[in-house]
């Protein structure tokens, strides 16, 4: 029996540290919502107490209910028969449980029966749910779909769909990918057309759709005849009724509880979300950003599960007359795993806060505009948080999912041969985590999404502010190292930009993004270390490693065209 919230000290540390005061004040309309809804908080303290209680419920369900079913869910998987998808029993039960606790309208407005919680809370919840069962996240974590309806749908659409999401009456699917439109969604072919009365219908085939058997589908389709790129695409909402045929489900490496469907739309009645032509370029981009943060949290949860298994096994397993935990190579792996986990949390909560800040500053901006007040300051604020959220979201997805993969890999390594067997959970975690650096945009695409922020220096002002601070003792040494990393970064960045070669820039984007990301996290860790002496150890290990990595990246980047890149064709000529 274990509560994934109350018994996870690092989650507690992050929860107690996080400052959402401004975010909550705005989300709660200066706590006016409490007048209308008895479950709305009356002040920030009350809100934080609510958050704690809600996460306790999530932690309890994840640790004591979901986790107990995860192995069986993985073994049974989803099944497909006569055109119908059936979830594994344990997954069904887990969904029911989350529903009973009223957790399905997590981020939606109270107007529709939601909990009006910030994204930051959602990230805590997704990590815990994913630790219990990675595949359950794909159902619980699909609430971005209803959020997209909330953000861009008409009142009529919102009133029709959102209350059903909140009660758990319907589940959703994000229906974007097609056989020939994966990473490149501009190539979407599914067609949307109107009849004489202006009603929309959908025709086409979609593939790799998580929970494609859902009751409500959010579908990206080509509404503009003759168009070829993203500007011809619009976003639609429809019911998964008889006109939507599930053709098959995929047999996958991991997250087997979550069905991945191929689906065909046969003149499916649909409603347009927002305005035409803005489907991909505006709405899906926002939707994807939310989903990316969710996947980062999912990766974190799986990695936490794998770490706990590895830590316990290393302690219990004895070889050569002692616990293997005491062998330097094993201890080193575990320390690295732990540091990666904790620093990933530091990063993800900075990201979620930026996303929350963006959302509330947009709300404020709209409110002030309506009131006819001055909006200059707020405009700048929105711009700032938008650039931070746009940089940190792909950075989080990239860094955390890659690290999570490494953690699960090492968790098997620590188990040795037994870890390769299905009797142990690490084998499942290893399979489950593998998708996290692929779906919702591969790592390579996250790098492309994040590199702009690095080139523009979105966090430079924060780095400057940190550099101007006076640190003492150990923190000072670490701050000096961060300065050195920054110098290396600048050197590499200038070198890359000077090359004026797009392929070369693209090739080395990953190194630049990693360096910039490690600077950002490094400074956050120094802040944490100022409040908690144990965190100084985490900061130290992290920054030392980041320094070595930055040196290696710089060496590789500034070596110029000596890299193998120029010789690709020759190297790949034969099998």
């Amino acid at each position: 029996m274990s509560n994934y919230f109350t018994e996870n000290q690092d989650i507690q540390f992050q929860f107690n540290r996080i400052d959402l005061e401004e975010i909550i004040r705005i989300r709660e309309d200066d706590y006016q919502q409490a007048r209308k809804y008895p479950y709305a908080p009356t002040d920030y303290e009350d809100a934080k107490d609510n958050f704690k209680r809600i996460l306790e419920v999530v932690g309890d369900i994840s640790g004591n209910f979901v986790s107990e079913r995860a192995r069986e869910v993985d073994q049974l998987g989803s099944t497909f028969e006569d055109g119908k998808v059936t979830y594994a029993k344990g997954l069904e039960e887990a969904m029911k449980r989350l529903n009973q606790a009223g957790l399905m309208g997590f981020i939606l407005d109270r107007e529709y029966g939601g909990l009006n919680l910030p994204i930051t809370l959602y990230v805590f919840a997704i990590e815990m749910v994913s630790r219990g069962d990675a595949s359950l996240m794909n159902l619980f974590g699909l609430q971005d779909i209803s959020e997209t309806i909330e953000n861009y749908g008409s009142d009529e659409i919102k009133n029709e769909y959102l209350p059903k999401f909140c009660t758990g009456e319907v589940s959703g699917a994000m229906v974007l990918t097609e056989p020939d439109a994966g990473s490149d969604l501009q190539a979407v072919k599914t067609r949307a057309y109107q009849d004489e009365e202006g009603n929309w219908y959908l025709n086409g085939v979609k593939r790799f759709i998580t929970n494609g058997n859902a009751d409500v589908c959010l579908v990206l389709a080509r509404s503009e005849d003759g168009s070829r790129d993203g500007r011809g695409l619009s976003l639609f909402v429809c019911y998964g009724d008889d006109t939507v045929q599930i053709r098959r489900i995929e047999h996958k490496l991991g997250i087997k509880g979550s069905p991945t469907c191929e689906m065909q739309f046969h003149d499916t009645p649909a409603q347009l979300i927002g305005s035409r032509k803005r489907g991909l370029i505006a709405y899906v981009m926002a939707l994807m950003n939310g989903a990316r943060l969710g996947v980062a949290a999912q990766a974190l949860g799986i990695a936490q599960a794998a770490y706990v298994e590895a830590r316990r096994y290393a302690q219990e397993r004895e070889q050569f007359g002692k616990s293997i935990l005491h062998f330097p190579a094993i201890a080193d792996m575990l320390v690295k795993m732990k540091v990666d986990l904790e620093t990933s949390r530091t990063l993800i909560y900075a990201t979620s806060k930026a996303v929350d800040m963006l959302k509330v500053s947009e709300t404020e901006l709209a409110r002030l505009k309506e009131a006819g007040a001055s909006i200059t300051d707020l405009r700048a604020q929105v711009k700032h948080w938008k650039s931070m959220a746009d940089f940190l979201t792909p950075l989080s997805k990239y860094v955390i999912s890659e690290k999570a993969n490494r953690i699960c890999y090492d968790a098997i390594q620590i188990h040795g041969g037994t870890g390769y067997m299905q009797e142990f959970n690490v084998e499942r975690h290893y399979r489950d985590v593998r998708i996290t650096n692929i779906y919702e945009g591969t790592s390579q695409l996250q790098v492309i999404a994040a590199i702009g922020g690095v080139i523009r220096g979105v966090a430079d002002a924060e780095f400057d502010a940190h550099e101007a601070r006076s640190y003492r003792h150990e923190a000072r040494q670490l701050a000096n190292r961060l300065k050195k990393i920054r110098a290396l970064l600048e050197k590499s960045k200038s070198y890359v930009l000077e090359q004026d070669d797009k392929a070369y820039q693209e090739l080395h984007s990953a190194g630049l993004v990693e360096m910039y990301g490690s600077l950002y996290v490094g400074y956050l860790l120094l802040d944490e270390a100022a409040d908690d002496s144990r965190k100084m150890l985490i900061a130290k290990k992290y920054i030392m490693d980041a320094m070595s990595t930055a040196m290696a990246h710089t060496e590789s980047i500034t070596k110029g065209f000596d890299t193998l890149f120029a010789d690709v064709d020759q190297i790949l000529t034969n099998e």
């Binding site: 107490d49 609510n50 209680r53 809600i54 369900i61 449980r97 606790a101 009223g102 909990l115």
Partner: protein, 299 residues
Amino acid sequence: MPLHTIVLVKQVPDTSNISGEVMRPDGTVNRARLPAIFNPEDREALELALRLKDEHGGKITALTMGPPNAAKMLRECLFMGADRVILVSDRRFAAADTLATSYALYKAIHHIGEYDLIFAGRQAIDGDTAQVGPQTAEKLGISQITYTQEILSLDLKKRSIRARRAIKNGYEILEAPLPILLTVVKNAAEPRPFDVKRLCTYKKAKSKFEIEEMVDDSHDLVWMDELMNKALENDLYIETWNIEDIDADVSMCGLAGSPTKVHKVENVVLSGSEFKQVPATDEGLNEMISELMQDHIFG
């Protein structure tokens, strides 16, 4: 009339966590040292009642007789879905045995008024008597089904209920008229989690004692009235009743009303007896199996 169900609940010391520290030298348990929890079978009783409410609608009242801090458990009843909670608490109820307890509950139920069903856990983990439910039914003069495992059907038109009841080596299915009291055994219904909206709402529900505590230092009675009215207005008052409220006879309550006398408390020390080591070989195992079969432990 919509279905009205009363659930009898008790806050108990968590006896699953007894360690050396909580045992007194005389072998009794120092309850104050144990965390207070919702008696597990009572929680399942509430879950069964909630499932009937999910299906048939109606209203659930959770009722407890206990110390002021039992308000914590009543809040949990609200978090799970109870509509109304009542704390029957008075110093004069202290040290009640099952007879005095069932008398107080009977009087409280009488005071509540009309009802169709009463649910209770089979027994509480602190006393393990399994008497309070049946005695309460007797005093109310209604039917009872004890050791309920499952509700098979509830027919509100015919006013009857069918339930499966555990008996030694099996079960039996009973049908009985309403109103009725049912006691519920472990694993009858896994209790639902707290509903987070209810959690955020009813965390603020307070009993009379808790409101008194808030104004304790100031003795400001006006403030107390205000707090009380506000709690009532917002549906956040945990109704708190004393002996007079339920019109109970003092001589039948608490220690005075309890004929049970503890004759002797024996301090039982559990210790292992002799053991035998079985070598992990086929021969060793075969030998052990034949020995167990000879002793009729299995085979």
